[in-house]
Subunit: 346 residues, 4 copies
């Protein structure tokens, strides 16, 4: 079985595994206070051109999301996000388990707009029963989104301006950030560090064994953030593993270079389906593609390939998702491309 159902089917990228192996015998103090983490944090701040920001590492994306959001909100506040947002749909209520309501807004291609944020905030403020309603307290978006789309620089700037005018921290979940940076270079680390109050640089889906780097602007969220991480169960005893991996993938630009390959593979897969007349459930330029397949093709391909059934549609069609990643092998993509042609009888 060849795996295209997610972007975490393999272990680590070679450069990452090598760094883990090389540093394995070293002795370091625990909990991320070691020299390797310090070096990785410095590197990230340099890449972000944000000397006044701060970096924390956690193991996974749900942990990152729940820790940042619970740290930023007051008890009666909720977090605005797209209805398709990961925190709203796929984290088993992790945000609510910290006491906070997720406030979904109808997304367009997985995205929400500055205007929607403003309207939601102002509708709350204008309601005579405002104290009986959850107050919008921050904004969560993902880039790339759940459906593989990207915010433009203008859209992010507008969100940022609105958020800051309204006093709402803007948090960007960058679980697949590498693929986004590769596909749309204008949204780079310095830009994100400027427009967001907090964002993550995703590692798990971009070639690390695991790990998300959380970048926090200024001192406020940072000040007590390690308490939050520990309390939520996110503090890794051998924290150096996070520093080692992030330094390895970032220091020579592999984070973006390898992501660019993955995007190219994904686009080849997309084009193969489009050539055979398939529509797209969501049209993307990143590492996730969403072809709508005739059920017969779906069944044929599933004999040898793992991919996601995104949504059953009418008329014998199924929206699917194929993912590539930084560890996807060329030969697997080529096999898939041939089998797509074959499945369509050409």
């Amino acid at each position: 079985m060849l795996h295209f159902e997610c972007d975490y089917a393999c272990g680590a990228a070679d450069v990452v595994l090598r760094a883990l192996t090389e540093t394995n015998p070293e002795q370091h103090c625990g909990y991320g206070e070691d020299a390797l983490c310090a070096r990785a944090r410095q590197l990230i701040l340099r890449l972000c051109d944000a000397p006044d920001s701060h970096v924390h590492f956690v193991v996974g994306g749900t942990q990152a999301n729940l820790t940042v959001i619970a740290a930023a909100l007051r008890p009666f506040e909720g977090v605005l996000c797209a209805d398709t947002g990961h925190i709203n749909v796929h984290e088993t209520g992790a945000i609510e388990a910290t006491g906070h309501k997720v406030l979904p807004l109808p997304g367009t291609n997985g995205k929400i707009s500055a205007r929607q944020v403003r309207e939601a905030f102002e509708a709350h403020a204008a309601d005579s029963s405002f104290e009986h309603m959850v107050r919008p307290g921050m904004v969560y978006i993902s880039h790339p989104t759940e459906v593989g789309t990207l915010y433009t620089r203008q859209e992010l700037q507008a969100l940022s301006d609105t958020c800051h005018e309204l006093g709402l921290p803007l948090y960007v979940d960058g679980a697949r950030l590498g693929y986004g940076m590769a596909a749309m270079p204008e949204v780079d680390l310095p830009f994100l560090a400027r427009v967001c109050d907090a964002f993550t640089i995703g590692g798990t889906k971009v070639g690390l064994l695991f790990g998300e780097a959380i970048v926090l602007r200024g001192e406020e969220l940072h000040r007590f953030f390690r308490y939050h991480i520990k309390q939520r169960g996110g503090m890794l005893a051998k924290g150096r593993l996070l520093g080692v991996q992030f330094e390895a993938i970032l220091k020579n630009g592999d984070y973006v270079t390898l992501s660019r390959n993955a995007n190219a593979y994904a686009q080849q897969i997309k084009q193969a389906f489009v050539r055979h007349g398939c529509a797209l459930f969501s049209d993307t330029v990143t590492n996730q593609v969403f072809p709508i397949l005739p059920d017969a093709v779906c069944e044929t391909l599933s004999a040898r390939y793992a991919f996601s059934i995104w949504q059953k549609l009418d008329g014998g069609q199924t929206a699917t998702r194929f993912c590539t990643s930084v560890t996807t092998r060329r030969e697997d993509v080529e096999a898939l491309l041939q089998d797509i042609d074959r499945a369509f009888g050409s």
Copy 2:
């Protein structure tokens, strides 16, 4: 600097790193539903001689504790434990953050007794204001304890009998279980699987990069446990990493064999201090030793060795903790032994 301040200063034991490297290119599905995790779970159940139990993996100890305890308790219930218990002292209120009070009992050498559990439970039940008080709902102990001591088989059996008579699940935090099994073989996996409702087989402190295996007896806690893990942020995307590591350390008995070495090193260190007339803050047979040092010795050794200051005592003495681990090197121990002699002027 040579590190004896904790048991997670290095990376992984060789056997573990090798397994991670070998399986790195393999493709597997995510979230612990892969074949490698399945194999590791089978192995653990076989070692536990508990075919009706269930195994789940999480990354860290605080995560394991908060997930098990929050899954087992009703909202108004609390967890009985020793006042020195990790959940009471060193998890930044992670249990309380899930809504539950930790109910500390005065420990003796880090341990609590069946009698204390019964008295606490019965005192609650007998109080006319019982509904105004947190109900004891489960019992948490660690083996080895925070201060390196071990429960005997009799003590554990008595705790188990009392807990089950009172309807309280018994949970054993085995973050350092390997060292315990090496030092006191009578408390082995089959015994624990029989007397506990839940226990962990600690990996992070016993040669893994990270990872705790949670063994749950019967179906009740197991049934929805994956929801709990996901909600608390403990579900690792590349879950196979946990299966790979546990299989590697367990399949040939290294978990105990390597722990035995570590215990032996620790005892050599302890004896060196005792020979020079040092008292012990807690007398242990596992990988943590607690010599009380004259402040001058403490200062001398700290130039080259990292160890923990456990408690400042009167009279120019300091209780300290020296830890070894499965990755401790013989040459480091020998250097320390020599420097201990030197520090005492012999």
Copy 3:
């Protein structure tokens, strides 16, 4: 200013105030364990024809909702309800503050159907990522609903059958139950006690100073319910006040009789608007009516009458809400009726 904006503008119905005054000098033990509460509980169970159910009293509706829901759900479960449901919209995230997600379904006239419940439950169970999503764990409806509508006996029976087939407790928020029972006698207390796992008999909006009676079927939720009430801050020291009031309003049928008056007044108000050509935002037969008024009429009436602005509509129209209650005075209604005619220039 005459108040029609809510159903809690006055103090208590005379019969209730009289009972409070008469029992005021009596000495009773606290926390609802007194003879007056016992008598009221017996009365309610008799009226419900449900000797195996149990009754608890709390002060307010949000308290009742959050206590029942947090007591019934496992940590990873959420509660299905209409998108307009009070717990989703007007309780400042009280349910989420206990750790649980509210799972809104699109309501029709404030109601949800058995079919919607089944589809939501089965969609969850069928999703391959089900453990990454909040599990539907119970169903919340209100009767009358937030927009004054009523479930028919058939609709409630269907919801009950579906819930029980799926293992979901059905909870009915009866904050305005008196008005519902007066308007649709077929949904009476014995019927509710049969079809629901938990429901409230609302007092605050039906002539009490305050108070909601919670009726729990069987033993399971009841067993530890007083712990839950105390933990959530809902246990009244002078609990007898709740027993006294409920007995007073229920023992001679005033709960329904007085509600019937209120409904009649509300319908007179509704008819007055309809006669002048007003459409209705929601057509109801209970104590809340929702006429859509020209803005000019809205402004004229607001000089002397307090009523709710429900929603600003296009075309110079405003959806409004007028409430009556068991303490509404005939003369106030007559004044309003005349002023409605006057406002429309007749």
Copy 4:
């Protein structure tokens, strides 16, 4: 049975019941935004000589405590209090249910000192694992305490100075404040308003049907406090009931005058026991007295009088608690005094 087991055995003081009756027919808007509450808030601020403070009303003490504490703390912070503190012992883990650990300090006569607070705070700050431990984030005391004792003005000033130096809000639970003010006039409302960041003026135990007034200094806690109250289920629909009652008991000084009577009765009871040679479990000058009785006397008296068994002691002795309140009747006290003499055979 004559009730001396608590201070909430009767309904309301006459002056309070009269005010409730007189205002019962009035129409007011809900949720404490009415004119009667506004008047009561003004009165309290005038009595506190604290024009920049703010007043909120809730129904009960547990509600007041959990709402203030959860509003004031960051997620990883806990609240320091005496080990006998109500929040630590008798609120079914209500504070923990909001996510926060209660950090008990050993009390002396139910009190903690400025020095203990400083030591706990500094011990945390000095610990190298501080981020792994709950941070002390505020201080809770009660005045009178759980065992009827009082803080002196000097003790409170010292606590206040220390708290403010350390950045810890000081919160005083005044559930029985009236009895404290009557017994020790130097700790009056203006003093409390100066030294505390938040305190309550208890109503439930001092002649109201129910109600606690929360006084918050400055803007910070006040700003969003109504959201907190609503979220925790503490916002009373007919909020005017709280304003009416507090105004009634406070406006002519009855809060203290009636409390003084209660204290005098309690002291007569205490002296009666002392005259017969009884020791005191806690020596108090307020409305709670704690005589240690021979078991035989205990049994004799319990035939006609309800009082609390505080603690079973060795040697056939029992520590008991007798409470009076603002509604205690002279004739009941006289009966008790005679029966005490009789029980001791004189």
